[in-house]
């Protein structure tokens, strides 16, 4: 079997960081399957850049990818990828980390994936302080299945399953991570990609459960139904609804309702799961 670039894309100059992706290494060209205007491509690019800048050994930082819009992201990710079932990434990563403590799994999740079907694993992964990174790509909707209500969809939004704009109170993943016991927590959006890169670098060197949420626009599913049809509309909607954490400190809960508080929320040190497990194994050696 031989591969060539998709039809009509033979003469496109590859993206400077495209050469870092696995797809490029394997097939000679990078491509994404994301919709037009989706923010996930830029997030993947940021991850590629961090991998290149940090000069990481790709096999030691495996990506655990679950099921969601971002499932096709491995085509533009820089490392080895293991795809699991819907929402089970953190449980799988716990097994991976315990079987080979040298690895640092990076589990990539969507909002439905992490906050709906896989919430249980998220809480307990953070509680155990498994030495891993969880990246939440939050597009506020179930994109791949056709735009249904997600646990993060803002109150009163129109989705495929809320045609009368009946809404449910959305969940705040950062607060959830805090009470569960994560040791590094940050939230960014697609307009603060450089900050996301800094956070991601920090998380790579952080020992413990790191959680980074990144809010992205979804013009195809969320935008079209909620009067934000262009990529820039969604981008600006998120940007205007985001408040830096140092500003948010002086604001009342009423003012903060429905806003994304972006920034670094927590950075502490606590013994990880492997620290405790290895202590026991060492103790029992003699």
């Amino acid at each position: 079997m031989s591969y060539s670039a998709p039809r009509g894309k033979e003469n496109i100059t590859p993206h400077p960081y495209g050469t870092n992706t696995q797809m490029h290494k394997l097939m000679g060209f990078p491509f994404t399957m994301f919709c037009k205007g989706c923010g996930y491509g830029s997030i993947a690019q940021a991850i590629c850049r961090v991998f290149k800048e940090e000069n990481l050994q790709e096999e030691l930082f495996p990506f655990i990818v679950n099921i969601g819009c971002y499932s096709s992201m491995p085509t533009v990710l820089p490392g080895k990828t293991f795809m699991t079932l819907h929402g089970r990434g953190i449980a799988v990563a716990t097994g991976v980390k315990m079987a080979n403590p040298k690895l640092k799994p990076i589990s990539i999740h969507g909002d439905g994936d992490l906050l709906s079907i896989g919430t249980n694993h998220f809480l307990h992964g953070a509680r155990r302080n498994v030495d891993m990174i969880v990246i939440l790509l939050n597009n506020n909707i179930y994109g791949m299945t056709g735009g249904q209500l997600a646990p993060t969809t803002p109150m009163g939004s129109k989705t495929s399953t809320t045609p009368y704009r009946y809404g449910e109170e959305p969940i705040d993943a950062v607060e959830l991570a805090k009470v569960s016991g994560a040791t590094y927590i940050a939230r960014w959006n697609t307009s603060t990609i450089r900050d996301f890169m800094k956070s991601f670098k920090k998380a790579l060197h952080h020992k413990g459960f790191s959680f980074i949420e990144i809010v992205s626009q979804c013009p195809t599913q969320f935008g079209h139904k909620n009067n934000l049809p262009k990529a820039l509309d969604g981008f600006n909607f998120i940007k205007n609804n985001s408040i830096r954490i140092n500003k948010a400190k002086d604001m009342s809960p009423e003012e903060l309702k429905g806003k994304y508080i972006i920034g670094e929320h927590l950075d502490i040190d606590r013994p990880t799961l492997w620290d405790r497990k290895s202590q026991i194994i060492e103790k029992l050696k003699d």
Partner: protein, 404 residues
């Protein structure tokens, strides 16, 4: 700790009085299990309890996860990273695992799950035995797949066959199941555990991935391939996660068996399903283990597995004393169904009795093969209970009833 020290520690040599669940846990550790993830559920809770105590001694990791879904997911993760790993559960927990087990079958993960069955449906009766999960083991998940399941009938066998279960998982690269039940798990019997050197000879280690031998066009060959008629199978070793040779995108979707890549081509998806199914079902004669007893001149055959085979053995001995020609075929491996052995027995006998702790889940399978060579159908009688272990008398009464 060096390898010899670990081996020595992993084998609990000697003659002991062990509970069934503990004997099984010891068997798994001796077989090389170094990762266990589980969730407490009666009647299997002694397995995680014993694993929590023993695994750190041999450098292994015990995890009590948040639920059975997480347990089996962690086991898949650990297996993929190169450890021999297992989980254990009972009926309701086993139902929760099905989604992941279906996936583990698709990606051919050599893991082991012990199901200490309890009466169902629903929450059931926690302390009574059953074999109600027999069909669920193979038909519980989405899609179609074939598994290997082993049914021990004593504490000694729970130890010995646990090693066999791990070996079969490695040889055929398939999730393998140990079928215990509430009574077997809580029974205490004499268990003789041999020297570590003796155990070492019995263990099949995880095959090492050698790039030069396992590559197709420069990419790792991670899945089983078969010839056109599905008669010959090449089951490759897989590169563990964390090694340089791990493929760049190991997917959980239906894939091409050759490239490992996502497919939407009907013929390729068809080939994948056929390969993972026929890998087991067409090699049934090589995989299945049966025990034959007094079958040479038998006119009536008892075919059974697991705990009821103890009552059946007693019934055969009693009947033989009275001059009734009865024999016993014990299915040590329940799945894949031992077609060759059952056909061979069916050709010689006039009637078959199947005592089961369910309403005939294996009897249905046996009916498929219960024919003489001339095509004449032979009757398959069921002695069914769902929560009671058969007494030998009950089986003897049935035998006397059918010969009249």
């Amino acid at each position: 700790m060096n390898k010899d020290e670990i081996l020595k520690r992993s084998v609990y040599t000697g003659t002991h009085l062990l509970e069934g669940n503990v004997a099984m846990a010891e068997g798994c550790i001796a077989a090389g299990c170094r990762f266990f993830a589980g969730y407490p559920i009666t009647p299997q809770s002694e397995v995680p309890e014993h694993m929590a105590k023993r695994l750190p001694e041999v450098g292994g990791v015990f995890m009590q996860m948040e639920d059975e879904i997480a347990s089996i997911s962690a086991v898949v993760g650990a297996t993929l990273t190169g450890k021999k790993a297992m989980s254990s559960t009972s009926g309701p927990g086993f139902a929760l695992m099905q989604e992941t087990l279906s996936w583990a079958n698709l990606i051919e993960m050599p893991l082991v799950v012990a199901n200490v069955q309890r009466v169902g449906p629903g929450s059931g009766v926690v302390s009574l035995p059953t074999h109600g999960d027999i069909t669920q083991i193979k038909r519980g998940g989405n899609g179609e797949y074939e598994v290997i399941a082993i049914a021990p009938n004593s504490c000694q066998e729970l130890f010995d066959l646990s090693i066999v279960a791990f070996n079969l998982a490695e040889i055929w690269r398939v999730p393998t199941f140990i079928l215990s039940d509430a009574w077997l798990g809580h029974m205490r019997e004499k268990v003789v555990i041999p020297e570590p050197e003796e155990i070492k000879k019995r263990i099949v280690p995880r095959p090492e991935y050698i790039p030069a031998e396992n590559e197709t066009e420069g990419r790792p060959q991670i899945y089983t391939t078969a010839n056109k008629d599905f008669t010959e199978f090449n089951i490759p070793a897989f590169p563990p996660l964390g090694s340089k040779h791990f493929p760049y995108w190991w997917i959980s979707l239906t894939h091409s068996q050759i490239s490992g890549m996502i497919t939407e081509t009907p013929s390729v998806a068809d080939n994948t399903n056929m390969t993972i199914n026929y890998k087991i079902s067409k090699n049934e004669a090589k995989i299945s283990i049966v025990k034959r007893y007094q079958l040479d001149d038998a006119e009536i055959a008892i075919i059974t597995y697991g705990t009821p085979s103890r009552s059946a053995l007693e019934a055969v001995n009693e009947c033989r004393k009275e001059g009734i020609k009865v024999g016993l075929l014990r299915l040590v491996t329940v799945w894949p169904i031992a077609e060759t052995a059952i056909r061979e027995v069916a050709e010689k006998v006039k009637q078959i009795i199947v005592p089961e702790m369910n309403l005939g889940q294996i009897a249905e399978q046996i009916e498929r093969f219960a024919f003489h060579t001339d095509g004449q159908r032979i009757p398959v009688h069921r002695v069914s209970h769902t929560a009671i272990l058969h007494t030998p008398k009950e089986i003897i009464d049935k035998i006397k009833e059918i010969i009249q």
